[in-house]
């Protein structure tokens, strides 16, 4: 029961995050979608730890690693946004066609 609740909510969050990544035009909003998807993965891991293997602490460690990945994604993403804003004055992906080859 509890496992079903957790996994269903994580699945819905993952779907919302994927929708956001594809539909948003702003780099910062796209990063928010990625964060939601990573959060869904974390919820799965905590549910697996608590309900299937409460004595395996490698699962808790895995949650810590995913949390690290979330922070790193934000740091590097904001660095890219800063550089893009410096050189082009906008972080809209619609205006980033010059990153494409032969554009």
């Amino acid at each position: 029961m509890a496992l079903t609740i957790c996994l269903s909510i994580a699945a819905v969050l993952f779907g919302i995050g994927l929708y956001g990544v594809i539909s948003q035009t702003n780099l910062v909003m796209i990063m928010m979608g990625v964060e939601l998807m990573l959060a869904a993965a974390m919820l799965n891991l905590v549910a697996f730890w608590r309900l299937l293997h409460p004595h395996t602490y490698a699962l808790q460690l895995f949650v810590l690693v995913v949390m690290t990945v979330m922070a790193l994604e934000a740091a590097v993403g904001f660095a890219l946004a800063t550089q893009r804003f410096r050189s082009r004055g906008s972080v809209e992906v619609e205006e980033a066609a010059d990153l494409k080859e032969n554009a």
Partner: protein, 171 residues
């Protein structure tokens, strides 16, 4: 799991889904950063209801910091952070919704159709968890933990190097 824990799990879960949805449904970017923060805090509440006290508190604290920084960056880089003009911030709505719903349904089916082993009734106490997690971090999983630390350092250097201003090349 006690019925009270199940109830909190459901309530926090629905809150997380609602706020996660609000992130992409509002014109104001500051509001969507705060919605994401609320979704992350609801997730932290779910971790607490799942007896993972350390991870729950860590999640709430880290996300509070991260999302407030995100709100600042939004105000810096958005043309219209408050959503005052009705600017369209989305593209390819239809395929995005199709892919999102498709992936969500796929994962949901996977979660519901897999024959999971029976759930464990009891979790270690919070003190025992912290002790054992510390032992795990410093013995068997030490290399993984150290690698996570090193990748934070690498990302910090990479982020600063990427964001530095460089003189424009005359072309």
């Amino acid at each position: 799991m006690t019925p009270l824990q199940l109830l909190f799990l459901g309530v926090f879960g629905l809150a997380a889904v609602w706020f996660g949805w609000r992130v992409f449904r509002t014109k104001s970017m500051v509001r969507s950063a705060l919605s994401l923060l609320a979704a992350m805090v609801a997730l932290g509440g779910m971790f607490l209801a799942l007896d993972a006290e350390f991870l729950g508190v860590l999640q709430i604290m880290m996300m509070a910091g991260e999302m407030s920084i995100m709100a600042f960056f939004m105000m810096m880089y958005m043309m219209d952070p408050g959503g005052m003009s009705s600017m369209n911030m989305t593209h390819q709505q239809r395929p995005a919704a199709a892919v999102g719903i498709g992936a969500g349904v796929l994962v949901l089916a996977l979660a519901l159709l897999t024959p999971w082993p029976p759930a464990q009734a009891l979790a270690p106490s919070a003190t025992q968890q912290n002790h054992d997690l510390g032992i795990e971090l410093m013995t068997r999983s030490m290399m993984i933990f150290e690698t996570a630390g090193t990748s934070i350092l690498v990302a910090m250097i990479a982020a600063v190097a990427t964001a530095l201003a460089y003189p424009q090349q005359p072309d």
